[in-house]
């Protein structure tokens, strides 16, 4: 129905024609780690630097994102949350994802993408509801056109394809941006999602945040392909790799993939090279599997530092900007502190309310049983060790 047969050579008679699908030889970089414009050569197809206003907006989002990570890490240490998977060091990928999308577009995040979720305008306390352990999901995906952060790896990529497919069938110009990690690219669902997207030619941009690790497992045990972006060619979609700590390059590469998808150009795969600066979650201890020296190499590549230098050097970061941005980050941090320090009240009857649209007779009975127990003031801790 929706293939693009001009790209296909299943008869086997055409010449080698996959070049246009291959990623650039090195990750696209527009701003060097030291904040200077990257030299020619890291470019491909002349991606160009976004304008200063956009970069300034992006810088603000990065600073807020970092503050979110820092504040959340502190709150989880203080026992105000069940778990927090920090994205410190990876914020540029999430910020770029948000900035490339319109409100009517959809984002499908993973568990590590709280910064991106907040960037979509999700109410912070809704965004943190699952991490604080109150409920499995705290926000309405339709209100923000944002999927729920998904734990079973790579499964959300198929939901992204479905959302895009539905929109396309209705003739809407929605684009869907789906995030996953390097580890998730090994799952069967990754393969099926990319293939479905390509065959149905739907507007999905897949962004692999390659942060070099899947918990403790380094990329070398995950894949021996030239790059993860090279997987694109096997689906007949273009692949690209980009410096995931360079917000400018991310905006250029993702932005062009998103607009190409919007124009009916079909899906694309983007691999962003970044690094998870902290442990997998607060429950993990990254020192068990990687050296401090390795982590130290990534410190100077930090996405915030680089953009700050670039903007400052270009004279686009006035003291007023810095102050405003710091205030905005602080105000977000305060929202998180206040919200997460406040006690929430949960209704145990909710356990039965939503499993089906109408609770089944069985669930009504079970709900009554629990209500009776609670009314009788039973201790419920017996089962906990």
């Amino acid at each position: 129905m929706t293939n693009h047969p001009e790209f296909i050579d299943h008869t086997g008679n055409a010449g080698r024609d996959s070049g246009y699908l291959l990623p650039s030889g090195a990750p696209v970089q527009l701003i060097s780690p030291d904040g200077s414009p990257a030299p020619e050569g890291g470019y491909k197809e002349n991606y160009s630097l976004p304008d200063h206003q956009m970069l300034l907006d992006g810088y603000e989002r990065l600073v807020v994102g970092r503050r979110v990570n820092d504040q959340a890490n502190a709150l989880v240490r203080q026992g105000r949350m069940a778990v927090y998977p920090s994205s410190t060091g990876q914020e540029a990928c999430q910020v770029a994802a948000d900035m490339c999308l319109r409100p009517s577009d959809w984002l499908f995040p993973t568990y590590r993408d709280t910064v991106a979720i907040l960037g979509r305008g999700v109410d912070p306390m809704e965004a943190f509801e699952s991490l604080r352990g109150d409920w499995h999901a705290g926000f309405d995906p339709h209100q923000y056109n944002t999927g729920l952060p998904t734990t079973p790896l790579a499964t959300q990529l198929l939901h992204a394809v479905g959302v895009a497919h539905a929109a396309k069938l209705r003739g809407e110009d929605t684009v869907v941006l789906a995030l996953c990690g390097d580890g998730a690219s090994s799952e069967g669902d990754f393969h099926e999602a990319l293939n479905f997207a390509a065959v149905f030619h739907v507007p999905v941009v897949f962004l692999i945040q390659n942060n070099q690790y899947a918990i403790s497992v380094p990329l070398i045990h995950q894949s021996v392909a030239p790059s993860l972006a090279h997987k694109a060619v096997g689906y007949g979609m273009p692949g690209e790799r980009v410096d995931g700590n360079d917000l400018a390059a991310l905006l250029a590469v993702l932005g062009s993939a998103v607009e190409r998808a919007r124009d009916g150009g079909g899906p694309a795969l983007v691999e962003a090279h970044t690094y998870r600066m902290e442990s997998h979650t607060n429950a993990d201890d990254a020192t068990r599997y990687r050296s401090a020296a390795e982590v130290a190499q990534w410190v100077p590549k930090d996405p915030l530092l680089r953009l700050q230098k670039y903007l400052a050097d270009a004279g686009h970061l006035a003291t007023a900007d810095t102050e405003r941005i710091a205030a905005s980050a602080e105000s977000m941090a305060k929202v998180l502190r206040d919200g997460l320090n406040a006690e929430t009240v949960l209704d145990p009857a909710d356990l039965f309310r939503f499993v089906y649209t109408e609770p089944t007779p069985q669930l009504r009975a079970q709900s009554s049983q629990l209500a009776a127990e609670l009314a009788a003031g039973q201790s419920l801790e017996g089962a906990l060790p």
């Binding site: 999901a137 479905g162 479905f196 939503f354 649209t357 089944t360 007779p361």
Partner: protein, 357 residues
């Protein structure tokens, strides 16, 4: 970009002469009609899966849907079941009502994670903010001489998973109305179709069936409602789907021998109709549960456990089970030994301690 509006124009409404009135049709045709009527009524209803388009499905259940509704409404997918269910989930999130076909029971297993961790949980996870009105059709069970992996009775996996509605019709009428009820449900339905019934026939009044789904109709949904397939007073046989024929035949044979057996068609496995089934068993005091799946930790186990919990003091004998053995489904030439047949059911009935009553 091809839009649905565009396709609707291209559609030739008279392409398929649709049946109406009183007709003798197969179980498979009833399913086809349920889908095509639902598709005609609601542009959000889509059908997709492996071989469901041009071919019309390996059992021809989707035959004609692509011709009638176009390739945007009924189409083939790449060969990947997790992909099919996962994409359907996304489409359901975004306003569609997909009906997907798993080609055979065992070939739904690659989709198990999507079904269990997403389809089943989405409504609850989102506190009801995202409902997934999707139907996963699964041809299941044996009795057709099918080779390995083509005859699993896999319903236990789904009924055990909270959040799924699990239905299985056993009559031509139920094939139509239960599938329409499934499509109309705001919740995800695993719709299990007994393969060996696909080519069974019955005469039905299509106009009457359709009227149930007309605007303003107050016809009750079959979801959550068991059916009393035969009245009887001495003992209750409880079966569903592929085992209904044997249960009814057993009751017929028993009647000739002077024993009156009531037969219940559970048909809605989840939600389960405790009310009807418990009342039935209380009325007879004896029960045999019949199902083709291996019995261990199965739907039949649940039925037996529930009945003894609820009807203990009405029972003259334990609730017995006649199920498939706890073995992989056999090769074609041995399946007759596996399937719960009339004699095995009557043996169980004989064991219901009649001497004591």
């Amino acid at each position: 970009m091809t839009t649905m509006a565009h396709k609707a124009q291209a559609e030739t409404p008279a392409a398929e002469a649709e049946l109406s009135g009183v007709q003798t049709i197969t179980f498979a045709k009833a399913l086809t009609l349920a889908m095509s009527d639902a598709m005609a009524a609601d542009a959000a209803v889509l059908v997709f899966g492996e071989d469901v388009g041009t071919l019309g499905g390996v059992f021809r259940v989707t035959d004609g849907l692509t011709r009638r509704f176009g390739e945007d409404r009924c189409f083939d997918t790449p060969l990947a079941e997790s992909g099919i269910v996962g994409m359907a989930t996304g489409m359901a999130i975004n306003g569609m009502k997909p009906i997907v076909e798993m080609q055979f029971d065992a070939f739904a297993y690659p989709a198990f994670e999507q079904i269990t961790s997403h389809v089943a949980k989405m409504g609850n996870r989102t506190r009801g903010r995202v409902r997934l009105p999707l139907v996963i059709r699964i041809p299941y069970a044996g009795g057709i001489g099918g080779v390995e992996h083509h005859c699993d009775s896999s319903e236990a996996y789904y009924v055990h998973t909270p959040g799924l509605t699990v239905l299985t019709p056993s009559t031509v009428t139920d094939a139509y109305i239960m599938l329409r009820d499934a499509i109309a449900s705001p919740d995800p339905v695993v719709f299990m179709e007994p393969k060996k019934l696909y080519f069974s026939k019955d005469t039905v009044d299509l106009d009457a069936l359709r009227a149930r789904y007309a605007a303003g109709s107050t016809a009750p949904s079959t979801i959550g409602r068991a059916a009393i397939a035969r009245e009887g007073t001495d003992a209750t046989l409880i079966a569903y789907g592929p085992s209904m024929a044997a249960a009814l035949a057993a009751a017929e044979t028993a009647a000739a021998e002077g024993r009156s057996l009531q037969v219940i068609d559970v048909r809605s496995l989840v939600p389960y109709d405790d009310e009807t089934i418990s009342a039935a068993v209380r009325s007879t005091g004896r029960a045999v549960v019949i199902a083709e799946a291996p019995g261990f930790a199965s739907m039949a186990a649940e039925i037996a456990a529930r009945i003894q919990e609820r009807c203990f003091h009405s029972l003259a004998a334990p609730v017995l089970r006649v199920t498939g053995f706890d073995i992989p489904y056999p090769a074609p030439r041995l399946e007759k030994h596996y399937l719960p047949g009339v004699d095995r059911i009557l043996d169980a009935v004989d064991e219901l301690q009649w001497e004591e009553s």
